[in-house]
Symmetry: C4
Subunit: 179 residues, 4 copies
């Protein structure tokens, strides 16, 4: 079954990108990884996530990919995003070096705050890196329509990053061996 | 077609687990089983469900799987959960020995109650077992974001536990025999 | 590829059934049929629907399948059902003999009306058959949770009965011939 | 695996069409195209869209396909449509010749405006073509139920036109080479 095998290692790039004056924000799902037990069962190894990538603008319609900053939303953080009311805000804090000797040296915070006039949100990422002595602030205004795309696409992706979509790939147990 | 056959019996473990101070709550879908009739048609044999598993804490970030208690939500109970308003509560009662000689000996009740301040729910399972002379109460506070994940994932899973996702695996009748 | 061919003709029965005192209501999706053009393209031939089947009770937990009455919801009628507000009602009229010489002889009407207290709906089917000189009225009270299952399952099924799920079965055009 | 290959190039036509007195409106998803990089990765080449097609009526239940006008909704415009409140309106402007020497010669605008009485929307397309010295106005009243179908079907289609549904076709990375 070479056709199927050949596509297994393929990666697909289909980010949803919002280009604005000072920065761009890309949203893309990252699938979980599974480990196969000797019994043949699959167990989720590393959870999937929704990856947010911010790139600063360096000219008209030009963005600096080298200076990008990323923030990876867990399933529960995606839950916050998709249940956010029109006037509500939320903020998440990550330490990418957590549980290592560099814990606390890099602090990332992502905030989603409503515009006063009910016309969308401002999504901002702040990264304070004590190791590099750097401080980055990147933010993008997101319209109601763009946020609706983010909500709908993230709601669609949520069961996938949790590994629940694997359900659909199984034959019903009652037909085992009958194919 | 060995590749496909080989994966038929595989099981996948991808629970969504909420770890809290006194207990942990795992949420996982259970697919229905089908029976194949002589005509070749598939009939749902046992309905699927959403399995809730509670485990008591026995130390920091440690939970006792041996003392777990489970509660299996039917499609209609999942309907209650996903339609629950912000200030509403619901409660379900199960007797795992229903229609046997032990009917009434084990009583399980699951309750979902909103925190007063609109910041989520408390999900609690009570199990009274007259046979073992035991009584267990396990509960987990669930944030709005965590409940949004449960709602979205359970809404996704609902057609699957009902067996309606089998629709997508069929070729349209109009192309029968033309492959 | 016999395994796949063998399953093409299979039908799957997975209705969602609500059993109540005077009648039972079954909800099940019916897929569209396609016609294959000479160009290889598929065109929807007959639209899919959501089939509602009412059966009168003839004893405790016993229902008379012989006296069942059916009502087939089109995509737009499904749109009415899934967008129905908590206090709203809707009614549909069908003539199964429309455009034949028996037009007007059989009149079916389905109504969905909210209980006064916000706790669900009453779904009723009336069939007046002048040919058989018969008149049937079958109705089922549906709880909020049961209606949530109907809404979620019908929302899931809607793109399938419209034939839009066929989208997912296609390879992207950019990779044609590269498998 | 000829069966699968044979279906790759097939196209499927399953528009949702609303027939009204003065015009008909067809809604259909257009999938994105992908480019395969040397690494084997797939990158979205051309974004998908939701294609709206308006046809003027030329008699009872007859519509003139020759005089049709189309408007292609981007992912973000679909986000506007699916997040539109009951009393809200939206309008989009397209120039099909943008970035060519004919820029500005053809101006298309699509508007979605609520009926005053909360019973649906009026969807209208205006096309001003300076090259052909033509001006077309086509509009269709859409009921709440029909708009619910459009919203549900477009929400379903959104991840597909973004290319995010490709997620489900991949094996988890942890099982690579183990099939």
């Amino acid at each position: 079954n070479i056709a199927v095998k050949g596509s297994i290692g393929d990666r697909i790039f289909a980010p949803y990108t919002i280009f604005k004056g000072k920065a761009a924000l890309s949203v893309a799902p990252m699938l979980p990884t599974f480990t196969k037990l000797e019994s043949g069962s699959l167990v989720v190894d590393r959870r999937g996530s929704i990856m947010l990538t911010f790139m600063p603008a360096i000219g008209e319609r030009k963005y600096d990919r080298e200076r990008r900053q990323v923030f990876s939303l867990s399933a529960t953080e995606v839950g916050s995003l998709i249940s956010l009311g029109a006037d509500e805000s939320c903020e998440f804090f990550h330490d990418p070096s957590m549980l290592t000797s560099n814990a606390g040296q890099v602090r990332k915070s992502l905030s989603i705050k409503p515009h006063g006039n009910g016309s969308g949100y401002f999504i901002a990422l702040s990264v304070v890196n004590n190791l590099l002595k750097s401080k980055d602030n990147l933010g993008v205004p997101v319209t109601t329509a763009e946020f609706a795309v983010m909500k709908t696409a993230c709601s669609f992706a949520l069961p996938h990053i949790m590994g629940w979509d694997r359900l659909t790939n199984k034959m019903p147990r009652g037909t085992e061996g009958q194919t």
